[in-house]
Structure formats: structure tokens, C-alpha cells
């Protein structure tokens, strides 16, 4: 009898221990059209949760990851967000690979008061500030400001803008047009192209023919910018070419061809140029550690900026959960908002009541492609 009683007590203890796992939810586009972003994000999130548990979890309790793949579909993302909150009982959510899926998830997060850290670019996610929604990537507007600042410093003020007609390209085009004037930049040509176009020489020919034009900026994502870079070289245009942060990866150089991409400038994160950073740079150890861990966990796949966004989101969440007085969603939210000077791969995050992006322009590094690799522009 006594033995049975002990057994029951032991079982009950085990049950509480198991149910005390802290559940973290994740929704990313591991498959579908945004899978080149979502795949490294999913790998990073799994890797970070494992590492967290290997270090002893959160205040001695294990973190349990519930990860869903929305395939890039906002309505699926919304269903999964509801399931995470209502059925799985997660205390926080990370994900939303694209702006569309992020907007779907954040509606659920706001309604159910569960903190959500988004991995998508658009400024609408955190502007106006929503109490339970944060994000880690830079915004398009910051990329425009960074590029325009670099152009000004080289004395280039009359530029041509060419944008993809996809969501990323259209959004960045609107932001760049909005901040051009205040940055002292005059946009003298404004062309567009389809994201899967095989040849973009007519648009580039028209841009080249604009009198007094000094540089060209492409706001685009995916293979379009690589086609532009090759067409640019084909036409022999000598003006400086700027690309967006959306193509800051080695795959872009490979698709464009190193010779065609020579001299192209773009804003990117420290992750891309970890080895080139100053040894005193606070991001250097963070970036190099993530790169090594990811490449080991992903079987040699190269790190991408997108995985870096997921890394930073998990870092912020883990720190907030360690600091929060309880594992209640509201307490975690308060702790996330109190994040100050946390160094991630994208930049140093300082959230506040009025700022749920937490980054400034210093997080972007102006990079130049040189001999098939990257060079930091001082």
C-alpha cells in the first residue's frame, strides 16, 4: 500500500514536471515560395531551443518548441497562431517569415495577449506600436536611408530607381520615394520589372538615357536583382549600382556572376562579414558563434540574414524569459520591452514603450562586392 502510494506521488510529481515545460510557439514558412527565408529560420529556432535546454533551460525548466510550417500562406499562419495560443498553450510566439504571415499572426497575438516577435521586414508590423508585437529585422525605410546617406557621401544625388513589382520591391519603392527628398536625393527615373523577368534591358536603357543621372538603386528581392546586375554589365552602364538588403547573401554574387557584381553596393548585416569586423566590434563574437553553430547544425548550409533574424528573436525571448518574474505571457512581454543593448547578429536591440523595432541605422553595414566577396565600406 505504502509502495503504491509512493508510486502515485512519484507519478504525480513527474506529471507536474512534464506539464511545467515552458512552451514556445513558432510559425515559419519552411516550405512554399518563401522557403528560402523560412528554412534557415526553422533550423535556427530548433537549434536555439536545443542550446537553451542544454544550458539548463529557463530557470531550470525545459523549454518545449511547438513549430508549425505555414507554407507562406497567411490564412494558415492565422490558424496555426490560434492553435498555438488555444490548444498548445504557448507563452510566446516567434515567426511570421513574410509580412503577410506576420500581419496574420500579430492579430491573434494582440487578441490573446501573447507576445510575438516577428521576423518580417515591413514597418507596418510595429508602426503604430502594438503592445504585444515586436520585430527583429530592419525596415525598408532604414535601408533607403542608409543607401541615400552613402550616395550623398559620394556626391551622387540624381538617381534612377528600379523596383520589382512583388511585395518587397513595391514596399521598398514606396519607402525610398517617401524619404528621398528629406535625404537630399532626387529620383529622376522610376521603373519597375516583374520578379521573374528574363531580361530587364529596356528599363535599364531608359534609365541610362536620363540626362544627369548619377547612380541606380534597385529595390528588389530574389532573382530579379541578379538579372538586373547581369543586364547592367551587359549594357556596360558605368554608374554606381546599389542593391537592397533583400539580396545580402553570397547566393546573389553567385547568381549575378562575380565579374558583373563587382563594385555593387548594398546595406547588409554584420553576419555577412563576420570575419571582416573590427575585433573590438561587440557584434563580432555573436556573429561568429552563430555562424559556426548554424553551419554545423545545418550540415554546411551557409548562414543567411533571415536565420540571423530568427537567432536574434530567440535570443531576445530567452533573455526576457530568464529575467521575467514569472512565465506568464504578460510578464514575458514586459521583459521583452525592457530589453536594452542586447547584441544580436542584426544589431544591438533596445526596445521601449514607443519603439518595438529596437534598431538604429548603425546596425546596417554598407557593403561592396569585390572580387566575388564582400568588403566593408568605411
Amino acid at each position: 500500500m505504502k509502495r503504491i502510494a509512493t508510486g502515485v506521488v512519484a507519478l504525480a510529481l513527474m506529471a507536474t514536471a512534464a506539464s511545467a515545460d515552458i512552451k514556445i510557439g513558432a510559425i515559419v514558412s519552411e516550405t512554399g515560395p518563401a522557403s528560402s527565408l523560412g528554412d534557415p529560420e526553422a533550423k535556427t529556432i530548433r537549434m536555439m531551443v536545443e542550446a537553451l535546454n542544454a544550458k539548463g533551460g529557463i530557470k531550470g525548466e525545459k523549454a518545449k518548441l511547438v513549430l508549425y510550417d505555414d507554407g507562406g500562406d497567411p490564412s494558415k499562419a492565422k490558424t496555426f497562431a490560434t492553435r498555438l495560443v488555444e490548444d498548445d498553450g504557448v507563452v510566446a510566439m516567434v515567426g511570421g517569415t513574410t509580412t503577410g504571415t506576420s500581419l496574420a499572426i500579430l492579430a491573434v497575438a494582440e487578441d490573446s495577449k501573447v507576445p510575438f516577435i516577428s521576423l518580417a521586414g515591413a514597418i507596418e508590423i510595429i508602426d503604430p506600436v502594438k503592445p504585444y508585437v515586436f520585430k527583429t529585422p530592419h525596415t525598408d525605410r532604414m535601408a533607403c536611408l542608409k543607401i541615400f546617406a552613402d550616395m550623398k557621401s559620394r556626391g551622387l544625388t540624381r538617381i534612377g530607381l528600379i523596383s520589382g513589382t512583388d511585395g518587397f520591391g513595391a514596399s521598398m519603392r514606396a519607402q525610398c520615394l517617401a524619404v528621398a527628398k528629406s535625404s537630399g536625393i532626387e529620383i529622376v527615373a522610376d521603373e519597375t520589372y516583374g520578379p521573374k523577368d528574363a531580361d530587364i534591358t529596356p528599363q535599364l536603357t531608359n534609365i541610362r538615357n536620363r540626362p544627369g543621372i548619377q547612380a541606380v538603386l534597385n529595390s528588389g528581392f530574389g532573382q530579379g536583382p541578379a538579372t538586373i546586375t547581369r543586364n547592367y554589365a551587359q549594357l556596360g552602364i558605368a554608374l554606381p549600382l546599389y542593391q537592397s538588403h533583400g539580396v545580402a547573401s553570397n547566393a546573389f554574387i553567385e547568381l549575378s556572376g562575380a565579374k558583373n557584381a563587382e563594385g555593387v553596393r548594398l546595406p547588409g548585416t554584420a553576419l555577412l562579414v563576420g570575419e571582416l569586423l573590427d575585433p573590438k566590434d561587440p557584434q563580432k563574437p555573436v556573429v561568429l558563434a552563430y555562424k559556426a553553430n548554424f553551419e554545423k547544425a545545418a550540415g554546411g548550409a551557409p548562414v543567411s540574414t533571415f536565420g540571423g533574424y530568427a537567432h536574434d528573436a530567440m535570443l531576445i525571448l530567452a533573455e526576457a524569459m530568464a529575467k521575467a518574474p514569472s512565465a506568464k505571457p504578460a510578464a514575458i512581454r514586459d521583459a521583452i520591452e525592457a530589453t536594452t543593448g542586447l547584441v544580436g547578429t542584426t544589431g544591438a536591440y533596445t526596445y521601449s514603450k514607443t519603439d518595438h523595432l529596437g534598431l538604429d541605422l548603425s546596425a546596417f553595414r554598407m557593403l561592396e562586392i569585390s572580387n566575388g566577396g564582400w568588403k566593408l565600406v568605411p
Partner: protein, 290 residues
Amino acid sequence: MSDLLQFLASGVTVGAVYALVALGFTIIYNASDVVNFAQGEFVMLGGMISVAGVAAGLPLPLAALIAIVATAAIGVALNTFAIEPARGAPVVSLIIITIGASIFIRGVTQIVLDKGTHRLPSFSGDAPFHVLGATVLPQSLWVVAGAVAIFVALWLFFTRTLTGRAVLATSNNRLAAQLVGINTKFVMTLSFALSAAIGALAGVLITPILPTSFEVGISLALKGFAAAMLGGMGNPKGALAGGLLLGLMEALTAGYISSHYKDAVAFFVILAVLFAFPRGLYGSNPTERV
């Protein structure tokens, strides 16, 4: 003048890409009246498998050959496992089956191969030709030559060979074709194999210009389908003319009107043409027996 030439060069390059995809629709359509919406996936497979072959260290011609043969086998499998069992179903059901197959092929490709975007090296280098101030990449000539070669081969196949006429006969009346001794099952298998092979060859030719990934098939099939409809479904001449016309319209609109209206103008012209010629520029006039 040099601007016009540049726009034309761009239009012909893009148009040849569309024509290559549109030509792939021809055979299956002629054999079964089915518009095969997995045709874009055949083009994608041609590109993706050759990329994988080149990455594994194979020389490009061998990788391309493997890609074409493998894709043809996949085309045969599509016919055997999805189209043949549904024989007798209305054409619309068969078309929906091909849409399902295209989603399936996309899914398997991203698992078996990968999710990245890749490019094949250009066949004869990247140094552009200069023609009266316009520039043309050598790969564009490969694509145009490929489109013309496939067009000629298809035209000879349908008009000069017994097998080609058997394909047309099967499409006209399957039962009558069987009665005169045509193995219609073989004709169907053959038409899927050939269509898939043409698609894969197109994929190999265009991947140096238009980088490939598991999802390029959708947009290619859409443009190729538009080109085929414009020219007249089932007619190789129509596929070639429709593709080139569509490419030229896009390039000239982007050059002279505005790149913002590039796709809108092209589709407006297609609608207008289809209003005047409902079966496309070179579409056959069906004679209905009363």
C-alpha cells in the same frame, strides 16, 4: 535607333523563352486536347536537374542529357499513374489532374533537390555582342536557336512522319484511330515523353538567363500558356509566333510607354486578339459534324 534595337533584342530573347515553353504544350494538346499545366514543371525540372548534375561535377552536356531523359521519364510516369487511369474523364478533369501533378512535382523537387535559386553557366561565355549600339548576350542566341530548332522538329514530326500523324489522329477521334490500327496508349505515352523532354530542353537553354528554383514553373507555364493561346493552341507555328509577339510587346511597352504597364498592355493585346480570333492567330477552325 540603338534603343529600338536594344528593346527588340530584349523582346526576342524573352519571347524565345516564352515560345520554348509554349512549344511544349503542343504535343500533349494535340494528342489529347489536354492543356498540361505541369508543362512549367518540366521546364523547371530540366533546369534544376542539370544544376544538380553540374554541382555534382558532371560536364554540362551530360548533366543536360540526364535532365532531359529523367524529365521524359517523369512525363511518362505522369501519364501512366495519373492521366491513363482517368481515361474517359472529361478534359477539364484531366486538366485539373495536371494542376495537381504540378503541385506534387514542386513539392517533391524542394525536398529532393533544394529550395535555393540556381543558374547554369552560359554555354558560350558572358561577353555581349555589340550590334549597332545594342548589346546581345550569346546565350540569347542559344535560346532563339533552340526555339527555332524545336519548332522545325515539331513541324516535321506532325506533317512528315507517320507517328506524328498518328498523334493527330488520336486527338481527332480516339476510337477511329484504334480501329485503323494506331496504338493510342503508346501515342499518349510518347506525347508525354516528348513534351516533357522539350520542356526539359527549354529549361536547360534558359537557366543561364533566367535562374531556376523549384517554383519558377508556375510563372513560366502562365506566360507560355498565354503565348500558346495567342498563337493558337496545338500549332507549333502559333507557339513560336505567340511567344515572340508576347515578348516583343512586353519589351516595347517597357521601353516606350512605361514599365509599370508592361504586363497590362501585353494581356490587353491578347484579349483583343482572342476577341477577333477566338482560337488564336494560327488556331485550327474546328469543323463540327452535325
